[in-house]
Symmetry: C2
């Protein structure tokens, strides 16, 4: 070999080393679409759950998943998938969102929702809505038909009316199950002398409750949506994390989509949804590392319970929770999972 072929050989070796260091990571196959949903987290123990009730929840999660998956499979957008799936969950009285929302201290319903498009970082959120049948549709209208992101109370309802959304009387959201929870919470409050503080001291299964959906579509776009009736017996116009972009909901193409459920106050203070995205963007954490750090370390250290559903741009799914259970499900072509109690990842 002359000096040129030796130099060539050395260069070739350097090229191989370069490749092995920078390029030859195992390729991940990004699935064409992915969807994940949740129906709230809390003390959802087997002891509180009859087989019939468990079956009803699993059936509802399956139907919601079917709806969202169909949209994505047919080439629909992540944004449409999350909106329509959350709308379906709002219409199902099993879940604390839309029909079936919990009662406020005054015996009314105040609904919160938000939606975010990872492609544009456009977002819409509504808080304290009483008469719009599907708050998630209102959130999307705010996103697409106003210069604003966040509308609250009567004003948000006026905006919904202007845009032709279906309205209902506030009592339309009533269900017997939620009325019983409210009455129980009022009774707990009566027993508690510490007015204004004690009413959080109720069993977890009536504290939590939210629905949410995250999706990755065939065009690589991410989206997230969240909707809730909030906390049973809430008062003073309390807003949780669900209508707060960055706390309950966030989506950013190339990074992740997130929807949260749990102790809303802790999720706001930790900006949970955006924190997950930031840990990935700036800290190089994986979806799983970021979600686990928040749900299993940061929040419990503060005293916060709950969970989140998340997808990254590569189609990885992570649904961590630190409560006893979380109604949750996910699907991608050829596989799906529906769970309530046991943690699967």
């Amino acid at each position: 070999m002359n000096r040129y072929s030796i130099s060539g050989f050395v260069l070739f070796c350097q090229y191989l080393i370069f490749c092995s260091v920078f390029s030859c990571k195992p390729k991940t196959d990004v699935p064409p679409y992915v969807i994940a949903i949740h129906g709230g987290a809390g003390t959802i123990g087997k002891k509180n759950m009859t087989p019939e009730r468990e079956e009803a929840y699993k059936q509802a999660l399956t139907e919601a998943l079917d709806l969202g998956e169909k949209i994505l499979a047919e080439g629909g957008s992540a944004l449409d998938a999350v909106e329509k799936t959350v709308e379906w969950l709002e219409n199902n009285p099993l879940f604390n969102a839309g029909k079936g929302a919990v009662f406020t201290h005054e015996g009314t319903h105040e609904l919160d929702a938000s939606i975010m498009d990872g492609k544009t970082l456009a977002a819409g959120a509504v808080g304290g809505v009483r008469t719009i049948r599907n708050p998630i549709k209102l959130a999307r209208k705010v996103m697409e038909n106003s210069p604003h992101v966040f509308l609250a109370g009567r004003g948000a309802e006026s905006f919904g009316l202007l845009h032709g959304l279906d309205t209902v009387s506030n009592s339309w959201f009533d269900t017997e199950h939620r009325r019983d929870s409210w009455q129980k919470a009022l009774e707990n409050e009566r027993q508690d002398s510490l007015h204004g503080q004690g009413y959080l001291n109720q069993s977890d299964d009536i504290r939590f409750g939210t629905v949410g959906c995250v999706a990755l579509d065939r065009n690589g776009n991410l989206a997230a949506a969240t909707s809730t009736g909030g906390m049973t017996n809430k008062r003073w116009g309390r807003l949780g994390d669900s209508p707060v972009i960055g706390a309950g909901t966030y989506a950013e193409n190339g990074v992740a989509a997130v929807s949260c459920t749990g102790d809303g106050e802790y999720f706001i203070r930790s900006a949970v949804a955006y924190d997950l995205v930031a840990r990935m963007k700036y800290g190089g954490q994986s979806l799983k590392q970021a979600g686990d750090a928040i749900i299993h370390q940061k929040l419990p250290a503060m005293g916060g319970m709950g969970g989140l559903i998340s997808l990254d741009a590569q189609g990885n799914i992570h649904l961590p929770f630190n409560s006893e259970g979380m109604y949750r499900a996910w699907a991608k072509p050829g596989s799906r999972s529906i769970n309530i109690f046991e943690s699967f990842n």
Copy 2:
């Protein structure tokens, strides 16, 4: 020199190199306290400003700074300093917060505020408040006397009444200057056929307006507070970033305290206040790098105008803005700065 002394010399050299790489960075002297304030950002051009008006703003910023600095100098908490300073700014009709707040579309005032304690990550926020004289005091009450973080509308006011806060009629917030801006905005809207979109098309000096304060106290605690009347001619219960923890306000001990002002919608979508903290925590960016990346790159790329005030745990100060001006000031022992137009860092 024998082989042992040569080895010793080599080890010593390696030690010196190690020190120079890892340990011998110039030490920063953390000042005992630091405070920074803002009174809003926007198209605050010299052409719109008489010398008298400029002097009035500078005088107001000076007095607010004096108040906050006195609290910190005497060993008061960062939390007290930011609350009391923002309360003072709310009471000054020059600024769009409290007395002097802008008018809504309907000719009323709807006030938003939030406060955060970096030591505990406790936070309080209120949105759409009409009759509480000092919304920042209400935000602190929410933080300290309720299990909640975020209260809105009439409910938030009921909570304030329960806790003995001063109330006023909504018209108490009226000022002639803001009424004129509102009338001008209504006229612009009439000229604009694109109902519901066009009313943002007004001059910037009436779009922006917020007050805020960040502080580092003698115990190393950080805090942040923000208060605003929102956008002139706002409607539909619009909330901006000021009451959104993570968007308009954030404080985390060991990292930074932030208060924002500008196009609230962009600040919500980018979770600006928490984004600054996250860039520092996870990305290792300095306070200046993080603030500049957000204000001079990320937001302008989306179309968002505004600025922020920020302090880090080492007492560094950074007050970036991408608008023509931002009312701003800072102080630490032995030095202070008060500016409106020119960017000083």
